[in-house]
Subunit: 116 residues, 10 copies
């Protein structure tokens, strides 16, 4: 069965929970829909975190980001929702999510949210 | 009624058909589906042409590119289909379409097709 | 009725007021007039803020910046006025406005003002 | 009397008409209005030419480009009109005008026209 | 069964053989062994071709490049062998292979071979 | 009467003295003479400051920098003199002057001085 | 006898242990295997440290990094193991290891771990 | 006696006149005066040539370029004069002179002249 | 008598000892010998300091760096020796020396030492 | 016995003499002496060629370039001598040597010579 988009994020055990260290993932492959016009929006997503007992599994992260492809939402809302879902899934010690959006109306927008 | 994706490309009259000149359009906002796995692919599309009697109208071009969002196709096929559709719509004196795809399997692919 | 330049900035509700997070907008599409010579000046405008109860709506921001097109003002004054207007409209927790001006007299000028 | 925008381009004598040589001028300070929506468009303009008996005087070129500030026109039309006006003013042996426009609808457009 | 490195390159039918067009693939993920010291060498490989009746399938290309991981060979020899194998597999109208090697002995080396 | 180089720096009233904000000016158009050989030296000058009651007027700054064209001085001395003169003219809350010199004897030199 | 990959890291005496200073080494020549699929992964490794009584000898570092060529491991695990081995070998006052991995599944990953 | 600016360009014998080869010199250290306002202009000068029996000696080239420091002249005229002087001094088989001027009135200008 | 390499660094009086300010010098023109193989090594050297009563004279710095041309030494040792010699010569309030070495064994190394 | 600088260039058999292909080598690790002052000069050397029956062996090329470390020579002469020696050693079908020199007297110089 081929992969499907999903809101489920898979947690895997952190092999070195005794050390605070950073994991950073970024991808230019994020697209969703404008909540006002229904037209596609595009963003680069950057996630960085200090894991506690869990890491986010990368394939599930890919499928999770895919799940926004046909959803609408404001840039600020999307960013906070991604952060909330990741925090719920792996309970990191610290996490930051940045979304960097392609130009609309001549304006380039970036949103950055952190936990805690 | 909001804008919708469409395969129709709108032609507008070239105000200076007496001169050979170049029009170049590019956008990083192209996404379609892998024909094998159904997963999203992303590309930058670059179009350049010498118009004859018609120009391609930019908003219709945006809606046209949007129309691939839920279609599958090989990189080489997509590129040639975009070129064929544009040639059919505006019959340019010369046209080149380049698609530049985000990395899959560690490999970065670019396809370039020209008419005539 | 087509869009018009306006000094009114539209505030929309912040969907996540419980979290301090950053919103950054930038645009190279700012032009006004030199107060001494009346000739056009050009700048990139960069706005970053931590919202409280409101976000600035992006289309109104575009129309607001457009409203300076036929106004004169010193670089330092323009920057502080944009900051004052945005603070009045959305009362952010923190905000910074940067204007980055194209060269005049061989000198490149940048002005940066913050609230509070 | 302060400088004013003008459609008049000033020609000055080429001090070395016996040699074919290139003059290239570019400026990011071009703005006009969208003919459909009335909203501002922004472009970088690049002019290159081989002079015959005349050079274009740079200050008059600046005032000429300023004159488009409150005019509407399609990208393709603007480019050809600038080329036509420059050719009429200084009759160069060869000339190319390129306009490179800021993104609209996610699409970046460049137009290039040459004489003869 | 997981994927394995292989010298077999898979050819797929070119959907547009009536048109001469370019396909370009590049990857920084190439490593082999120095034939003199047995130590690893690293290169970026760039392949460009005009297909005739066949395209090279990308996953098989990835597995093919992987097959050099434990082989030794001089830079010039490797480059020509990759070209020969690709030509044998898909009989392109034109093809160029470039290998761009990480520095050895302070010297950066690039090899470029073409068919025909 | 045409503009002349001058050591006089013109102060203009700061329109927003109630706020600490930054003004940054930089120019690659600085040249003076080597105090040992009399040959020309070239530098980029970068000035940043937080104004108190006054701003430095940009045209007077240009003429001030021009005034060094036929003067000699060590890099370190020039930098401190420019800072001293600007501080004397506009009494900023904070100011930094950086001079970044083109290569002499294979060595690239930068001097940075701040007040207070 | 030619050089061989090895897990042994050679420590050499720090000639200036009385001073805290930084040593930074980086190399794009790191490759290992994916623990799930067995396919090659590629990373740039960046090591920075303040030595105490020992420095890491560079040739042994090269052979040590080579030793991962045929080993599998998650990105996060690899990074911490390299850090642990280096700390065991030279007991630095401070050390950071960063691994920066080529794209998999459209996602670029960086892991950074520090001691103590 | 210290070096002085001079219009004399020193020719030295080409050690390999039997081969057509290229010499390219460039420097950002060129300044002259605007013929209209008397204010300083700045340019990068790029010279490339195929020598015949003579090379231009580099120190004399430096002193020659210095000699324009207090002279006025239009960009196009300066470029052709430098070319004429160099051709007179060393009679190259081919030569190109490019001058690339810092921005005036928002416009960046480049002039390129070649012999023969 | 032509200039000679020397270990003597010339100190000149700081004209502004009353202010803490920065001087930064860097050069890509440093070469010495590998202490193990006798083969040449190459580095960029970056020096930054806050002078007290003395500045380092630039020509003597050039001759000092030249003096390492035929000497061997480990990267870490060289860096600390340059710092020690400069501190002995001009007793700065603060100084940092960075050496950035061309690649050996696929590894790029940077060493940074500071006083005090 | 450790490696020594040498003027001997080692030729190795071209494994694919039936095909015209390009080999390009470049290194920033070239230094010689100024023939007038005896001071060090530094250059990047770029060599590209189409081999006939022989390739240049890379280690011997490194030792050959090292051999100039204590020799003096004008930039133009050095470039042609390197080309002559390489042509004598491997008789390539075509070869180009470029030397790109660090700045002297504010002027950056590049020399390019080709055979035949």
């Amino acid at each position: 069965m081929p992969s499907q988009p999903t809101k489920e994020l898979l947690a895997v055990a952190n092999p070195h929970p005794g050390r605070n260290y950073d994991v950073r993932c970024d991808t230019p492959e994020f697209t969703c829909l404008c909540p006002l016009t229904g037209q596609p929006d595009f963003a680069t997503v950057r996630i960085s975190y200090v894991p506690d007992q869990s890491l986010v599994e990368l394939k599930s992260l890919k499928l999770y980001l895919w799940s926004y492809r046909n959803e609408g939402g404001f840039h600020e809302d999307m960013t906070n929702r991604i952060l909330d879902d990741l925090v719920a899934a792996i309970a990191p010690r610290r996490m930051t999510v940045v979304t960097d959006w392609l130009i609309r109306g001549g304006i380039h927008t970036v949103v950055e949210a952190s936990h805690p």
